[in-house]
Symmetry: none
Amino acid sequence: MRISDIVTKYIMQALDESNGNAEIQRNELATVIGCVPSQINYVLTSRFTPEQGYIVESRRGGGGYIKITRIKMDKNLVCAHIINSIGEELDNSTCKIMLQNMIDRKTISYNAAKLILSAVSDKAYACVPIELRDYLRAAIFKNMLLTYMNASFY
Amino acid sequence: MRISDIVTKYIMQALDESNGNAEIQRNELATVIGCVPSQINYVLTSRFTPEQGYIVESRRGGGGYIKITRIKMDKNLVCAHIINSIGEELDNSTCKIMLQNMIDRKTISYNAAKLILSAVSDKAYACVPIELRDYLRAAIFKNMLLTYMNASFY
DNA sequence: TCCAATTTGACTTTGATTGACTTTCATTTT
DNA sequence: AAAATGAAAGTCAATCAAAGTCAAATTGGA
């Protein structure tokens, strides 16, 4: 069994035991497992990405930590579906349509949709080369939807 | 729990109990908490800065004191002030501090802050050259705050 | 064999803690 | 009034305690 599989198993288990909300110490976990600390980073970036339904937050310095949250998919299949349907790129008008769709289905409030829209608008992307904008928009939109799903907004 | 977190909790509580106007004695508080006096200074300079909405005044010598005041502003003023304080660039940790500050002052809900944070996180900016990210973040953050101001959320 | 995924560790960055030393102010003494 | 004393708070650099980054080396599977 690969080291990365072992690390993954540990984190999964911690998530199961904490109702999808685990907090670990990188160095401690590395010691327990017997691997190099950066291995934890590798696993987190390769297998606990937003695309895979996880949110990872951390803090450095004394008393630092890494928090891993598993997104709950139950009530938000619509979001999940939309996220899955987004590829690498996303243009602004498709984005609008998706949000309108969510509003129609009562998956999101008008105001929250507005807020999201203001983050994916070309107005805010002036400093970004045009050919990058749709990639950026896709990434931001996915990231926001994931957060939104996980936060049980109304 | 970190010592600095304990100190922060104490001061926050003192502020809540005094309607945003607390007065402490550095050495006394340090003794109560069981830390070195300069720890209080560390906490004050790292978490109770004007940027974060606090004014700290003090006096040395016999009968000295430290006074901490939480600045009160209405939501739009807080937003406007933050928007004005942002220049062309904005790094992620400053962004976090600003949002935390808004949460502390009840200017924004935890979930709305999370949503905004997910749009200004480097995680979503992978496709953008590093040297552009802080410009982009500034633009998006401002845009979102403006939307937020006009929306009377939550 | 070749390529992508994995593994490793040296180095960087961030944040927290401490204590020795300095400055400021009020009170007491001369 | 001036000087001495003591009681605060302030400063700063050293040290410790995490997590992050990156690229070289290795491995394993198609």
